[in-house]
């Protein structure tokens, strides 16, 4: 279970998250929506421990552990995965070596031996199928020369490899064509278990038609202003966010 309490965080002295409270229970899928610049990616980055962001107040616990005290790699080993909004390319580091290093580091953290080479390659093959990732891509350097959509598909492939218990999908749908979106979303659904939970960040209902969220949150200017059931996403699609903005006058200075 992920528990975020009164989280304030920012970058270079600029506050972006202004008091977030969020609880994601085992097995739940939460959708997070909100206009550009609201702080959705910032929240994702803070959860996974991006060193550029500074937490000034509040707490995040994960299954009772103080997440903020863990290094990014330890958070990953504890089962947290972020599908990045803009995955970087890493020339010269092959997907195979990268995934091997990641998987074996996690195994080591949990007291397991490295996976034998043959088993590892078999696992790569199996997981590739889930998101229909081309073998050619899996043999290249990480994201090098991948198209926008291919990168997103590759994120979910890595998720499949690492079997996280909390997945954060930061606009994984953007850049995917209609068919790819279906494949990737169905792949994501295949990976779900009653023990896994997810935070799905999106601007569109489309993805949520495949991945049915249990809860929908709206983040505006660093705060969650509304939480409701899946019907909220449909309403936002219709009406936008303006009707959800805090009362005029309340927060004016922050908007300028």
């Amino acid at each position: 279970m992920l528990e975020i309490h009164d989280l304030h965080a920012g970058i270079n002295g600029k506050e972006i998250l202004k008091g977030i409270d969020l609880v994601v229970k085992e097995g739940e899928v939460h959708a997070l929506m909100g206009h550009n610049g609201a702080g959705k990616s910032t929240l994702s980055n803070v959860i996974v421990g991006h060193p550029a962001y500074e937490v000034t107040q509040g707490s995040i616990t994960w299954n009772g552990k103080d997440l903020l005290a863990l290094k990014p790699e330890e958070r990953a080993h504890e089962g947290i995965f972020l599908s990045f909004q803009q995955p970087v390319e890493i020339p010269g580091v092959s997907m195979v070596n990268f995934m091997r290093a990641a998987l074996n580091a996690k195994r080591k953290y949990h007291g397991l031996e490295p996976l034998p080479a043959a088993d590892f390659l078999k696992l790569m093959r199996e997981k590739r199928k889930i998101v229909e990732l081309d073998n050619k891509l899996a043999n290249r350097s990480v994201n090098e020369g991948f198209s926008g959509g291919e990168r997103k598909r590759n994120e979910i492939f890595q998720m499949a490899m690492l079997e996280p218990t909390l997945s954060i999908l930061d606009e994984t749908d953007s850049g995917l064509d209609v068919d790819a979106l279906r494949v990737v979303a169905e792949g994501f659904n295949k990976l779900r278990t009653p023990q896994t939970s997810a935070i799905v960040i999106t601007h569109y209902q489309r993805l949520l038609d495949y991945i049915r969220p249990d809860v929908v949150h709206v983040l505006i200017d660093g705060r969650i202003v509304k939480t409701a059931g899946p019907e909220l996403a449909a309403e936002i699609e219709q009406r936008g966010f303006d009707w959800l903005k805090p009362e005029a006058g309340e927060d004016k200075t922050d908007h300028i």
Partner: protein, 457 residues
């Protein structure tokens, strides 16, 4: 203050006769002139363009022993044999300090008829016509103090000769071993002659067997005949007490090709000068280099590619990864002379400084006196990519490991461009060990084993 030069002048004056007595006429013939040149020039200061980044006089100031009487240093070559690059199945030769080593324990690999790999002084004595036309012709003592000093003091070295139209089937591996009980200066000389149409693959490994301070001068002169093809890779795996000054000269005749690789995995102070002359049409020179340095290590590569003939190609790729307080320097000058039309040349130097205290100097230079050419050059100095680092950590790769993967990927481009598959594989392995800090002084010899530890006295 005593000038650094003085002790070498004194040494030569005092031991001139012994130096000559333990060498051969072909080498002795240039000794006096080299001495005069050295006295006239002295060591270059850092104001001299090609020595901007290395303080030569300082490196030569300490008092090292010089083995003027050619005494043999016993080593166990089978110890050194482990420096072999496995699966490469090379023909193996040794040079200990500055002498070709072939006592009765060393097996002589069998070579095709006419190919010579032997002691330079022996060949010069027995078949001077093979040495005299070449010795000192490229490495002029009047032009460079290291050339002068080496020519003054060198008594032996390595001679490689491949006759016309012959391809040496297996790579030749030369293991240079530094071995001493006191601080030692070694002056090594190498002459490589490929006749028309000849082919050779050469791997030279530099090792230091003892913890003593070493100072080496090395002069390599390489003649690549028309249509001949040379691949030569030099791998240095010495230690922080080693000071290496190496000058390599390569002359390429028409339609010949040369790949020259220089990999510095471990060093103290290393200064490599590489001068390549494309003197015939349709020649091709490919220079690659990688430096991995940390601590107080200093690695300076200085290259000149001299396009004298039309229709030649040259490419150059050097990459450095500097950690700790290491200092790296790369100065690469490409000179396209008048009349060298249709030259294509590409020069790249990319560097990674993994710490704030590491320093890199990079200076690619293009000088063009012909109008129909295609030349480019570029250099970069950067840090590890933070976004990539974080991406990897998010997936669970520990920070140190992520750094290592990025450094490894960076240097990988150079290693991947090596044509010998077994050497390429071995270097990937050695480079990874080097970054993990698991490389002993001489890791080619086997895991966690120090050569010196099992030395036979």
């Amino acid at each position: 203050m005593m000038r650094s030069e003085q002790q070498y002048i004194d040494l030569f004056t005092a031991h001139h006769e012994a130096l000559s007595a333990h060498s051969v006429p072909a080498m002795n013939a240039l000794r006096e002139q080299a001495f005069e040149d050295f006295c006239r020039m002295g060591f270059p200061t850092q104001k001299v363009e090609r020595y901007k980044y290395t303080d030569v006089a300082e490196a030569f100031a300490p008092d090292y022993g010089v083995n003027v009487r050619g005494l043999a240093f016993p080593v166990n070559p089978y110890q050194a044999f482990r420096c072999d690059v496995p699966n490469l199945s090379t023909s193996l030769y040794f040079v200990v300090n500055d002498r070709f080593y072939d006592d009765e324990t060393v097996k002589r690999p069998s070579l095709p008829e006419g190919v010579i790999i032997d002691s330079l002084s022996r060949v010069a004595r027995e078949r001077p016509q093979l040495v005299e036309p070449y010795y000192g012709r490229l490495a002029r003592s009047s032009k460079d103090a290291i050339n002068a000093l080496n020519t003054m003091l060198a008594q032996d070295g390595l001679f490689i000769y491949v006759p016309r139209n012959l391809a040496v089937p297996r790579p030749i591996q030369v293991v240079n071993i530094l071995r001493a009980d006191v601080p030692l200066m070694a002056n090594r000389r190498t002459l490589v002659v490929l006749e028309e149409g000849a082919q050779l693959q050469l791997l030279i490994c530099d090792h230091a067997m003892d913890d003593h301070a070493f100072l080496t001068t090395q002069v390599v002169e390489t003649f690549v005949g028309e249509n001949a093809h040379l691949e030569c890779y030099e791998l240095e795996e010495t230690h922080s007490q080693n000071h290496r000054f190496s000058n390599t000269y390569v002359d390429l005749s028409a339609c010949s090709t040369a790949t020259l690789g220089s990999i510095t995995l471990g060093c103290g102070l290393t200064r490599n000068r590489t001068d390549v002359t494309l003197s015939g049409e349709n020649g091709e020179a490919r220079l690659i280099g990688a430096v991995i340095a940390d601590g107080e290590q200093h690695a300076d590569n200085n290259t000149l590619i001299d396009h004298r003939a039309p229709n030649c190609q040259s490419t150059e790729l050097y990459k450095y990864v500097l950690d700790g307080s290491a200092v790296g320097a790369f100065a690469g000058r490409v000179l396209v002379r008048e009349g060298a039309q249709k030259t294509t040349s590409q020069e790249t130097n990319a560097n990674l400084c993994a710490t704030r205290t590491a320093r890199m100097y990079t200076q690619p230079m293009l000088e063009i006196y012909a109008d129909d050419v295609k030349c480019s050059h570029g250099s970069t100095v950067g840090q590890l990519n933070d976004a990539a680092l974080f991406y990897m950590r998010q997936r669970g790769v520990p920070e140190d490991e992520a750094r290592l993967l990025l450094k490894f990927a960076f240097v990988g481009e150079v290693i991947d461009s090596i044509h010998l598959p077994a050497l390429r594989d071995r270097l990937h392995y050695l480079v990874e060990k080097r970054f993990r800090g698991e490389l002993g002084r001489c890791a080619g010899c086997g895991d966690n084993m120090k050569c010196g530890g099992e030395r036979q006295q």
